[in-house]
Each structure stands twice: as structure tokens, then as C-alpha cells.
């Protein structure tokens, strides 16, 4: 089958490209969410922020 090597090359390239781009997008999404999570954890009230009582 002449010229079929080009179709094989295109199939391999398309597969790796789509998987690579999906991985990149997943990595980007995960990193952004983790940053947001860290920021929100930092805003969480801690025991030090709690109002002082008579016993303190």
C-alpha cells in the first residue's frame, strides 16, 4: 500500500499530540486549583484568631 506510511505517521502524531495536550491541560488545571486551595486554607480562621475569653 503505497503512501500508507504517511497515514500511520499522522495517526501516531495525532495520538501523542492529543494525549500530550490533554496532560498539559490537566496539569495546568490541577496546579491552579492547588494554588487556590492553598490560598483558601491560609484564609481559614485558626485558633489564634478566635476571640479571647476570660480564662486566656
Amino acid at each position: 500500500m503505497e503512501g500508507s506510511l504517511g497515514f500511520l505517521f499522522a495517526a501516531v502524531l495525532a495520538t501523542w499530540l492529543v494525549i500530550f495536550l490533554y496532560l498539559l491541560s490537566l496539569g495546568g488545571r490541577l496546579a491552579a486549583l492547588q494554588r487556590e486551595l492553598e490560598a483558601l486554607r491560609g484564609q481559614q480562621p485558626t485558633n489564634d484568631d478566635a476571640p479571647r475569653t476570660k480564662d486566656d
Binding site: S4, A14, I19, G27, L33, L40
Partner: protein, 226 residues
Amino acid sequence: MKIGPLAVATLAAMAAALYAALLYAPTERVQGDVQRIFYIHVPMAWNAYLAFFVVFVCSVVYLWRRGLWWDSLARASAEVGLVFTTLVLITGSLWARPIWGTWWSWDARLTTSLILWFIYVGYLLLRGSVADERRAARYAAVVGIVGFVDVPIIHQSVVWWRALHPEPVVLAPGGPAMPPSMLLSLAVSIVAFTLLYVWLVRLRLQTELARTEIRELRRALAEATA
């Protein structure tokens, strides 16, 4: 994104699969090198079926137990399954052009595969369009269960209807209809793509769980400041 043992195993298996498909497997006598697309196309179709089976199981468990973790896993698997189905359609077309002389045919296998792609695009769109998290999960679970009916139909389509698509060669009634070296190459590719599926679902699930935690933290912060 951390490169853990699963990522290393996946990348090593993918390299082995590439070697098996492009160099180790013998060239098919009639189709030539384009037949090697089979070692990408079939493992991805197998993993798309696996992905939607996971969606089906998680949807059933979600409707039964109402645990959001199951819904998150279903969503992660549906997205990865959709990526795999897209690649099944692309690689199938790239094989069909030199072999059939056309990029697409409304053959039973191709049409039911395209329907599967639309079902899971609909599944993900539905999730995004319903604001209430629990309601979205419930609707998606119903689509995840009903949509899976298409998978056995796709598998049997070449048997039930006269189709252009080749009949099963591995699960053929008289055993695998291919030489051992081709079978081994296919097995290596299936293992590699299955590891890839697990890795991608794991990553996607982490984003889903992080999103859930963010939602809960925001709720807690809003309550604390109210």
C-alpha cells in the same frame, strides 16, 4: 504535577508499545504499514469501553449510596473516555482513507461509535449546565447508565449488521485470527494504554477532589464571616 511511579510505568509502557507497533510487529501483507494503526486504534477503543464501564458502575453506586466521590470518579472517567473515543474516531479515519478510499462511512460500527462520542459530550455538557451539584450528579448518573447501553451495541454491530468495518480478530469465535507476534504487540499496547487511562483518570480525579474541597472551604469561610 508530580511524576510518580505510575507516570514512569505509563511512559515506559508507552515507549514499549510504540516499539512493538512500529518495529516489532510484522508488516501486514495486504494492508502494509497502515495496518500498524491497529495497535493504537484497538487499545484506545478498549480503554474507551473501560472508561464508560467505570462511568456506568460509578453512576449506579452514586444513585445507590449518594457519595460524591463516586460521582467525581464517573466524571473523571467520562472525560478521559471522551478523549480516547475522539482518538478512536481520528485514527479510524486515518486507517479508512487508504484502505476504503474514504475518511468516513455510515457503517454500523462507525455510526454507533460516533453516537457514543455524542452521548459523552452530552454527559459532560449536562454536568456543566446544571448549577445544583447534587442534581447535576443525579442527571449525569442516569445518562451514564443509559449511555453505556451503546457499548455492547458497538461491539456487536459488525456481527448484527452488514458492515465495512473488519470483524473482531482477537475475540473471534475460533480464537485470535492473527500471528503471535501481532498478538503480543497488541497486548503490550493494551497494557500501555490501560496504564495511561488509569494515570489520566487519577489526575482528573485529583482536580475534581480539589474543586470539591475549594467549594467546601468557600462555604465554611462564608459562614464564618456571616
